[in-house]
Amino acid sequence: MRVTGDSMRLERTQPWVPDALWIERGEEDSTLAQRLRARLPETPVHVTDDLSTVEPKADLTAGKRRLLVQRHRGTFLQHCPAGTTGMVCCNYLVMNFGSNCPFDCSYCFLQAYLANNPALKVFTNVADGLAEIDGVLRAHPERTFRIGTGELADSLALDHLTDLSCELVPFFAARPNALLELKTKSDRIDNLLRLDPQDRVVVSWSVNAPAIVAAEEPATASLQARVVAAARVQAAGYKVGLHFDPLIAHDGWEEGYRDVVTMIFSQLDTRRIAWVSLGSLRMTPQLKTAIKTRPQPAAVLTSELVPGPDGKQRVWRGLRVKMYRRMLEWLRGVDAAMPLYICMEPAGVWEKVFGEALTDREVAHRLVSAQA
């Protein structure tokens, strides 16, 4: 695979604005709906009894252009979908206050995962979600939970419209047995800078080699803009997480990933890094099909991907291990104390990379205890 480009530009990304706002009837007067209407005065607003009729089925691109505002029915808190039998898992929990993402990363699993529900959605009943989480935290005071909002959505990409972080950060800042992770590829941190996280909030960025960011992550903040934002939230009292995921075997990957490690850690304080994760590109058959239908099929499909025991394709194991070990070498060279883990790999790969195979519980415990 050959990718070229430069994602080192610094200018901030334009805030995302939808083409239309669709509000579920009965939620028009919700705080969120009112806030969105106030902040999007030029955007057409529709109120409807049945939002499913306006969802552009099987069209993720169209789905990303309209914002559906609705009440969430069902549980907010779930186990991370990455948890898979046979893979070491970090016991992460995800809470969904919305669904889908305005960015358009070519490799994004949401293309397949949300194929039948492609609209960008935000949920009005955030208080219900927080009450649910509060119940879980109170029921298990002996445990510390890592909970993130960035699996089915980007945690911050819509924050300039929703102010969701203004509800989440104070909530978690007041709870001793949970860490909130806000995961993003944006640089929308303005709200965060006005809040006090009390060391209970980690702001994480997905990062990649510059060539991959430029070619495969349209509409996201540039790498440099992400790192500048990370440095600013560190200075404001947050810990920062970094996710080198997906690592993609492209021409020049060694130089690309080594350089990005150097570039990032020349600007961030490693003592304020909560964790760094590594993950190889994972490709389900459904995702591969979705990627092939993109107007410009992604170069990621040309990596040497082979099927694994969980049905997902990854670059073959020897190459994955090589990539992980190089990354580990570079990261350890920066600061040997930074907590590192790998996502969705079997114990055998952990053993090759780290020299030990941990259980799910041990991984989770290490990541939590490193924040004490």
Binding site: R2, E304, V306, P307, G308, W316, L319, V321
Partner: protein, 180 residues
């Protein structure tokens, strides 16, 4: 988009083989020369839909990576050589698939080749077979011993013991553990 003559022949072939509409439509969306090249391959090997799609996907991914057309890949030297071999239909399909796989996974194929050489240098008797994980997705090696008497069993065990101490054995596991 394929031109009308090729389109008719693709429709006739796909119809006769009960291909799905989705696959047929995808085929018809190709450039004429690519669609025709795929049709020649399908006719040559009497390919069913899944067989065609497997070869097509790899060829398409190679073309995307190397900035070639689908036709370029299907007539490239290693594939053309496999197509030219005097083999039965099934063996020829296997040979073409193997040639395409080598083009699609060059680093993996190179490691597999090296592993073949390394296993050969272990000098194991014919009764012992080393089975590697599919696509090298794992580091477990299966050793199969097939014997009909105690002497052969003893000889196989002795050969395996000797091989375990050889540099080739170390290289085998090193190659399975991490790409060179």
């Amino acid at each position: 988009m394929v031109d009308s003559d090729v389109r008719d022949r693709i429709r006739a072939y796909a119809g006769a083989r009960a291909y799905s509409v989705a696959t047929t439509e995808r085929w018809l969306r190709l450039a004429s020369r690519d669609g025709d090249a795929l049709l020649q391959l399908a006719l040559e090997l009497r390919l069913g839909e899944n067989q065609l799609r497997d070869l097509w996907d790899w060829a398409e991914e190679i073309a995307g990576r190397d900035r070639l057309t689908l036709r370029d890949v299907l007539v490239a030297q290693p594939v053309a050589a496999a197509r030219a071999r005097a083999l039965g239909r099934n063996d020829k399909l296997t040979a073409i698939k193997s040639a395409l796989r080598r083009l699609r996974f060059p680093q993996l194929a190179a490691v597999e080749d090296r592993l073949g050489v390394v296993i050969g240098s272990l000098q194991l008797p014919r009764q012992v077979r080393i089975v590697l994980p599919v696509h090298l997705e794992g580091d477990q090696v299966r050793i199969e011993i097939t014997v009909t008497n105690a002497n052969a069993w003893r000889a196989a065990a002795a050969a395996l013991l000797a091989a375990a101490d050889s540099p080739a054995c170390s290289e085998l596991f090193a190659l399975l553990g991490e790409a060179p």
